[in-house]
Symmetry: C2
């Protein structure tokens, strides 16, 4: 219990994860409305858009329009996702509004690297070297090594801690060669393979290898275990998570059209709060935003909490 963090940092990715996968179309105005509403809940990190190829991700063809349209709230870090120099160029046009930091993003599964990026792992390492060097040359800090499919892969099966450590070592070598200063690792359960015991073993082994490095988790609730995985991770001191309001998003991999998306931000906040961990988020306000997200996409989202209401709302009613 002593490992429990006092505060958890939540990086909201609902706009980016959600609108890239919704059959839509979702209007630019609705995207802006959601981003601005999220900013009023106490969240400090919001991934607002995706600067990816609009032919591949038509849902984000309006990334520029969205960034130009939303009113930024002081103190909030808005970010945009991108994968290459072209995406970085697009993001840099908004560097007054967006927080730009680079990431060395690798994948623990060679099978997934090929399917998702059409590259071998070795080719991806070379691409990330160029990407990291480009950021450093432009004075943009590269502070993160990310590992996708860190807990398992629909194409390759289970992923061992040794495989993840080897991938992180590749990332740290890239950082060293390119002059990047890594402050944290992000482990992504991209296809919903994590389970609490394997989560504990993974975190334990990565922490044995890099005792001082912060670890962030990007969890998907593909098989309903995301909150249990977050619980296991919190008990091991993990203090940073990505999540999406309402559970926006989905799993575009390996024929799972109805599969759930990321861990819901509001369920993560509830879990933390009930464990006595601060998030700085107003849960009732966030639940309202989850309901707004449901209205925007026009179908029920996976979050149970937005349908049931917070405990504090019932506590207040019961006290009267």
């Amino acid at each position: 219990m002593s490992d429990l963090p006092k505060h958890v940092d939540i990086h909201e990715e609902g706009p980016r994860e959600g609108f890239q996968i919704e059959p839509g179309p979702i209007s630019t105005a609705d995207k802006v409305k959601l981003i601005e509403a999220l900013a009023e809940t106490g969240l400090h990190h919001i991934q607002a858009c995706s600067f990816v190829n609009p032919r591949l991700v038509p849902g984000w063809a309006d990334a520029e329009a969205v960034v130009e349209s939303f009113t930024a709230k002081p103190g909030i870090h808005y970010t945009g996702l991108y994968f290459n120099g072209n995406g970085l160029d697009r993001a840099q046009k908004y560097q007054d509004k967006l927080t730009l930091t680079g990431s060395i993003s690798l994948t623990a599964s060679e099978g997934f690297t090929k399917k998702n990026l059409n590259r071998t792992h070795a080719e991806n390492v070379e691409a990330m070297k160029r990407q990291s060097a480009l950021h450093v040359a432009r004075g943009i800090p590269v502070n993160r090594v990310g590992v996708m499919a860190a807990f398992g892969c629909n194409y390759q099966g289970d992923i061992s801690p040794a495989q993840v450590i080897s991938t992180l070592e590749d990332g740290m070598r890239i950082a060293e060669e390119t002059g990047a200063e890594i402050t944290y690792f992000s482990l992504a359960d991209t296809m919903g393979w994590a389970a609490p015991h394997r989560m504990e073993r993974m975190l334990g082994e990565v922490r044995s290898r890099w005792p001082e490095m912060k670890i962030s988790l990007h969890l998907h609730d593909t098989r309903g275990l995301a909150v249990a995985n977050a619980h296991a991770a919190l008990k091991m001191g993990v203090a940073q998570f990505d999540s999406t309001v309402g559970g926006l998003g989905g799993c575009p991999f390996a024929g799972q059209p109805k599969a759930a998306g990321n861990i819901c931000t509001e369920e993560l906040v509830l879990l933390c709060e009930e464990m006595g961990i601060e998030t700085g988020v107003d849960l009732d306000a966030l639940i309202e935003v989850g309901r707004m997200a449901e209205d925007i996409v026009g179908h029920q989202l996976p979050s149970e909490l937005i349908h049931a209401g917070s405990l504090d709302a019932f506590r207040r009613k019961a006290a009267h």
Copy 2:
């Protein structure tokens, strides 16, 4: 970790919990089909119907027809829910097919007892005394003290371990006075108030008071924390759970029409299996039954796993 059970007993309540709340109508034939399919998955306890007042629960007006129609599989305990002598009379007609055991069922929240049963707690204690005595007189074992709303209540707010212990003490007094031999406690999170830390505290305090008593959990996923709560309980050695296939059921209390139902059986099985705990259940077969349940009720069920498929199915594919 040493408290982790080797085996978990799952009591499937999907037919009873699900069909009592679905707007329906669900045909008797479909109910029978689901019960018979569940029996092929390796589950050993199936709550097949509810002998309650058909005016209050029209979805179970055909309880007798269902019990008469399904083919019982040897080795499986089929049960029916009932709350009073009239219900017991109805269930006893099928004592060759149903496993009859009595329960002393109390509620930790006076507010909920009034709303749900239109009784005070004291009146409920008297009713349970009569109920237990009736079972004992008929030679039906009463082996369970159940506490509803054990983790919180929409009408009363948080419920303390002291309140649950006091309710269990009332139950044990009833057992003693009526000659019932209690072998386990069932704690129900009827309205989805539990969270992992409070779960640990509750289990710890109940176990301090009755170190030898087995504890079973009946969890609802109303706010998305059910699997995390199960994880916390498994780590404290809890080895018996109620659950519903597909997450059938819902929350008929306090205006939550879209709220989720019980913890999903298949997500509980996945959690156990990935933690190395046996359940005896064939997860892929159970996922197929979850999909059947979704077809029967005609709308998407809360289970994420039935939409994503099991890990083992992907492991097998990846190995080829």
